[in-house]
Amino acid sequence: MKLLTGNDLGSGDVVWWTGSGWSRDVKEAVDAGDGADAILKQEEAARRVNASYAVDAGSDGLPVHIKDRIRAAGPSVRKDLGVNPDIQLEKA
């Protein structure tokens, strides 16, 4: 399973591909399947996302690597600032 992520150009917010647009909430992200490269190219060109890339997701629908889980959750030391601060960061 592949998720697409990047940052909103103007605000810099971390965003996730929902199939029809971008959301700050990783729980709205969908599997990009084989179309990842084409979607990223199209969305970057339209300036709807910046610094985008594809990440592997696990069975929980969340990124596998801790770096991207922190991007999805927000800083673990400032849970008041995160979008999904309760995401478990370490592998179960």
Binding site: G10, G12, D13, S76, V77
Partner: protein
């Protein structure tokens, strides 16, 4: 403090408007991210893990209260109500919007500040001793020289595209409070037979290949300083490697080329540079120095301090340092609350520190490379009032230079380069050692944490250093022992296999308890380590 002349202000204002247009063009799609990225980095704007991050330069760590207030204003208006003081004496904002950045830079320019040369392969913000102008042991105030170097290096056309970034520190005391020999160029101002000059150290640094800068010249006359530095940079610019970013710092050039060969090349270049008449006229030096004249200290200020409040007395002993003027003291505000985030201060805390500087410290503050704030000139009779106000704001932790006065980089909580989180480790350690009596019994102990090999948390220079690494997708922490960024500079050595986050806290505690067991007399941790060696601690941790 230095005040911009019309040229300083004009170039900063022009830069703001130039960047405003660059942002507009990027938002309108007239330039790509590949074209825009180097432009935003030249204005201190990074794209980090969660958002854009703006790094604001604080030249040689010196601020007025008005400038500090502006930092609080920016945190409140454009960020999430806090700022982060860094190991480069700068401040960073973690949640900046691209579209707000031109207005932020305009606000900064209105108080003679900017974010220029806080990124890129140029000469970065000049760092210095946070006690400059106040320390009893300095041979001269290093800040006029740091300011001269700031002006020399700002937009220097020859040195805007060096092989890699370039960091310079200037001190003027035998006690090194600025990790001077861990910079690309370290300058120690000294006097020889009454003549002011500088010892020049070149090729230090941390990162993946830590090195202590060798002395390249034991005495460069102050009149020749700019020409000599120009020669140092020219030789690096000519021979520094551009084929491999990991081998591009000047420390690698000197390591591979040899300090003697580098020195000889610099001397040849220096002889040529001296013909170019680059050194500033005496009048310009005097103009700059006049801004740093000592404040009007009260000659009748008393050295007496009422120590009857025991909490105040502890803070006095730990965080307040001697001043060169009778009746005055240097106040260190440790931005290291128990369980808190090293270097983070809220907008209200920033405002309070600005107010204290205005009311009690001749309108001056300093940022330290240990992520703390200094009020450099406080009358001893005002210390209790200052302490009460700091205490009410959660800024009176009496832990300066103790085990909980931890340097930590932003780590994987914020930084896109990091491999592991640094801040949670710092928080757990400060909670483990929350008992101030225990900390004071342990004594001076510099604990420094980096979340990756780039070493922004200075772990190589920690008496105890912690390096976070990625071990098959899991955070892992290595301990180094025996480093120092002070005048007894050394690079820490890896103790053994790494630990998880809780394990490293336990391991550090075992190291410290072993030190308490084997120390002799007044030995600091570092002294004991150097006497007994690594194995004693390794045995205590790994069995």
């Amino acid at each position: 403090m230095y005040q911009y002349d019309k040229y300083d202000q004009a170039i900063v204002d022009a830069r703001v408007e130039e960047f405003r247009d660059q942002v507009r063009r990027r938002m309108a799609g007239e330039i790509t991210e590949d074209q825009f990225k180097p432009l935003r980095l030249m204005n201190g704007l990074y794209l980090q893990l969660h958002a854009y991050m703006l790094r604001v330069a604080i030249p040689y760590g010196t601020l007025s209260s008005k400038q500090m207030k502006m930092l609080g204003h920016i945190a409140r208006k454009y960020d999430r109500d806090y700022g982060h003081f860094t190991t480069r004496q700068n401040v960073q904002y973690n949640w900046i919007k691209l579209e707000d950045t031109p207005d932020i830079l305009a606000d900064l320019a209105s108080v003679e500040m900017h974010a220029i040369q806080t990124s890129g392969n140029c000469i970065r913000n000049i760092s210095s001793d946070q006690y400059a102008g106040a320390a009893a042991d300095e041979v001269t105030d290093p800040r006029p020289w740091a300011e001269l170097l700031r002006q020399w290096s700002t937009f220097h056309p020859e040195f805007s595209y060096l092989p890699r970034k370039f960091k310079i520190a200037v001190i003027a005391s035998p006690e090194d409070r600025a990790a001077m020999r861990l910079h690309d160029i370290g300058i120690e101002l000294v006097k020889k037979d009454g003549v002011l000059g500088a010892r020049i150290f070149v090729g230090g640094g941390m990162g993946r290949t830590p090195m202590i800068a060798p002395e390249i010249n034991p005495f460069v006359k102050a009149d020749d300083l700019l020409s000599y530095l120009e020669a140092c940079l020219r030789v690096y610019n000519r021979y520094g490697r551009r084929d491999n970013a990991y081998k591009a710092r000047i420390k690698i050039l000197i390591h591979e080329h040899g300090a003697d060969n580098y020195r000889a090349d610099v001397e040849t270049e220096f002889a040529h540079v001296k013909t170019l008449d680059l050194d500033p006229p005496l009048a310009e030096l005097e103009r700059i120095s006049a801004f740093f004249a000592a404040p009007a200290f009260d000659p009748n200020a008393s050295d007496d301090v009422d120590r009857s409040d025991p909490d105040f007395a502890v803070w006095l002993d730990q965080n307040v340092k001697p001043h060169k003027a009778k009746g005055y003291a240097i106040v260190n505000i440790a931005v290291k609350p128990t369980g808190g985030i090293p270097g983070d201060a809220t907008s209200d805390q920033i405002d309070l520190m600005a107010d204290l500087a205005l009311d009690y410290s001749f309108d001056e503050l300093r940022v330290t490379h240990a992520q703390n704030i200094v009020l450099p000139h406080v009358k001893k009779s005002d210390l209790y009032a200052v302490w009460q106000k700091l205490d009410a704001a959660g800024l009176a932790n009496a832990n300066l230079d103790l085990v909980s006065d931890i340097i930590a980089c932003p780590g994987l909580d914020y930084c896109s380069l990091a491999n592991a989180r640094s801040i949670p480790v710092a928080q757990k350690l400060s909670e483990r050692f929350a008992d101030l009596d225990r900390q004071r019994d342990i004594g001076e102990l510099k604990l420094k944490i980096s979340g990756c090999i780039n070493a922004c948390g200075h772990h190589h220079a920690g008496h105890i250093g912690i390096l976070g690494v990625d071990k098959k997708g899991v955070e892992n922490y290595q301990i180094t022992l025996g480093g120092s960024g002070a005048e007894d500079v050394s690079i820490g050595k890896i103790m053994g296999p790494g630990f998880d986050q809780d394990g490293v806290v336990d391991a550090v505690e075992r190291v410290i308890e072993k030190y308490r067991e084997v120390r002799e007399g007044d030995e600091r941790f570092l002294d004991t380590y150097r006497r007994v060696g690594n194995d004693v601690f390794k045995e205590a941790v790994y069995g």
